[in-house]
């Protein structure tokens, strides 16, 4: 049994240097993207097939009353109950024993269903490769006992890596300190979607960071939805059967039928 690994993103320690972004690009050999200034330091503006992690620069809605500039490292959360893995029709997305959710590029056919179900908008379709790509928590490094590239690059300790149990312990300790300082802090990823392998320590409401407060699995009520389709479907079929059965033969009374009506 391989121990579950986790990444801890302590948002309160992030200063928005974007070293993790560069390290990710470098290790995974992703080309840079041409972007233009949009009024924010967030760059590129969003995740893409070649940008697997991104620092969000957030000025909250109540900025004028309570001015603060927030940063959050956006990336795949590596959920235990991963919706992307559940809907992948080819089995290309796999949850490994150590908790990493990765997309096998040899098997993915680029149907883009995972793109539509992820509550965090993480998987991105790549037109060049014809596949969907996302953060794989540097599986090649982790397998060889190294930490993911973004973790090694972080100069403030905002991103750390270790066993899931260990990271949760660090998160709780840190939460206590932050709460003493007056921040109501949430350990996002402890229980969300069955628990996640990227744990975010959030000193603000999750929605301010663009995260769903209670992420849901889109497939959770799927059986009932099928049933909800079957029953009225059968009713319509029965109605058509009943309607057609009670009709007299129209084939020989075509002229009168067209004029006088069927009922």
């Amino acid at each position: 049994m391989i121990a579950e690994v986790s990444m801890l993103i302590d948002v309160s320690k992030c200063m928005g240097c974007r070293g993790c972004q560069v390290a990710c690009k470098q290790w995974n050999q992703h080309a840079g993207e041409k972007t233009s200034f949009t009024g924010t330091y967030q760059n590129p503006p969003r995740l893409s097939a070649n940008t697997w992690t991104l620092i969000q620069f957030i000025e909250p809605e109540d900025y004028n009353e309570n001015p603060r500039w927030l940063f959050r490292k956006q990336q795949c959360h590596h959920c235990v109950d991963a919706p992307c893995e559940q809907v992948c029709p080819t089995g290309a997305i796999k949850k490994l024993e150590n908790g990493i959710v990765y997309i096998n590029q040899n098997i993915c056919t680029g149907c883009k269903y995972c793109v539509e179900v992820c509550p965090f908008d993480i998987p991105q379709f790549d037109r060049d490769s014809g596949t969907v790509r996302k953060c794989w928590m540097c599986l090649d490094r982790v397998k060889n006992g190294l930490k993911p590239a973004c973790v090694t690059a972080c100069p403030t300790g905002a991103v750390s890596f270790g066993s899931r149990i260990g990271m949760l312990a660090v998160a709780r300790e840190r939460k206590n300190i932050l709460e003493k300082q007056g921040f109501s802090t949430r350990i996002y990823g402890e229980n969300e979607l069955g628990g996640q392998h990227v744990i975010c320590l959030l000193p603000e409401k999750a929605s301010i960071y663009g995260l769903p407060e209670t992420p849901r699995k889109p497939t959770e009520k799927i059986f009932w939805r099928w049933l909800l389709g079957v029953i009225p479907g059968l009713a319509i079929l029965a109605g058509i059967f009943a309607y057609l059965s009670k009709q007299k033969s129209a084939a020989d009374t075509v002229a009168s039928n067209a004029k006088s009506g069927g009922e």
Partner: protein
């Protein structure tokens, strides 16, 4: 123009898969309800049912990132050796169950087509047709439902609406009946002296009842989702004209008004209203699919 993750090919598949499956079901039910009496409806349905679904499947395959690797959805490969291990089927993945439903439906409806033609000279084929039709009914019904589940079981505010599958199912039946009426009306126009279009008014009257159900579904669907900006974009800023005048007005209300009493007065009018219904059915899927992907 904004690039959509799922665009026109997927909208066409959602439309065509529901359409073909509903045509099949109406053909089978007509056969069960009236046998030879409804041979025109049955034969027309059997002849046209497989093709929209086949087209939809081909469009879906073409829309893949790697179209030539569509078989990955049918065969499971090992992550380590990449060797083929078994058939690929995942009940929780609507894409996976849909792949199989579409495959089975296309093959089954093609077989049904052959048997339906053989049923004219051979009596045994008429019985076999009924049996095959009954076996095919659940698959066809599931195909129509699949189109709605596929996009409703997603993290999309507009699509994740519990009524969406029913909107698509009722629309599938309405368009399916219109397609059979269209086919029979075309043949009637081509052969004005035949009785080939004699069942068309009956189909239209029946369809007008279903249009009422369809309108009801659409209204409840809108009311459930009205809180989301995507829904308001669909019925207002982005697709408002298409939605109210095209899909609702021309695609449902006008055909209803023309046909609810005694069907269309001539095969030409039948062609006109069934075309409107079919276009409305496609644009219904198109508007919902695209509106859901608008960033607001």
């Amino acid at each position: 123009m904004q690039h959509y993750n799922w665009g026109i090919p997927v909208a066409l598949d959602l439309f065509a898969a529901g359409l073909g499956a509903a045509i099949f079901m109406v053909a089978v039910v007509a056969d069960l309800a009236g046998g030879r009496k409804y041979r025109r409806i049955n034969t027309a349905g059997a002849l046209i049912a497989p093709w929209p679904v086949l087209l939809g499947v081909l469009l879906l395959v073409a829309d893949l990132g790697k179209p030539w690797r569509f078989w990955e959805m049918l065969l499971k490969r090992s992550h380590e050796t990449l060797g083929i291990e078994s058939l690929m089927f995942k009940i929780g993945s609507t894409m996976s169950s849909g792949t199989w439903l579409l495959t089975i439906f296309v093959l089954g409806s093609l077989l049904y087509l052959v048997i339906a033609l053989l049923a004219y000279p051979f009596k045994w084929a008429a019985t076999l047709k009924k049996v095959l039709g009954v076996i095919g009914l659940p698959f066809a019904l599931l195909v129509t439902i699949y189109t709605g589940i596929l996009i409703s079981a997603t993290d999309n505010v507009l699509w994740n609406n519990w009524l969406l599958p029913l909107v698509f199912v009722s629309s599938a039946f309405v368009t399916g009946i219109a397609a059979i009426a269209f086919t029979l009306a075309v043949l009637q126009v081509l052969k004005p002296k035949s009785k080939i279009g004699s069942d068309v008014p009956r189909l239209e009257i029946m369809n007008s009842r279903l249009i009422v159900i369809q309108l009801l579904m659409v209204i409840i669907f809108i009311l459930i989702g009205i809180g989301s900006p995507q829904m308001r974009a669909m019925i207002g800023t982005a697709f408002g004209l298409l939605w109210w005048i095209g899909i609702i007005g021309l695609g449902l209300v006008l055909p209803f008004i023309i046909s609810f009493r005694s069907g269309a007065k001539s095969p030409q009018i039948s062609l006109f209203i069934s075309t409107l219904i079919l276009l409305g059915g496609f644009f219904l899927r198109y508007a919902i699919l695209i509106s859901g992907q608008i960033h607001i």
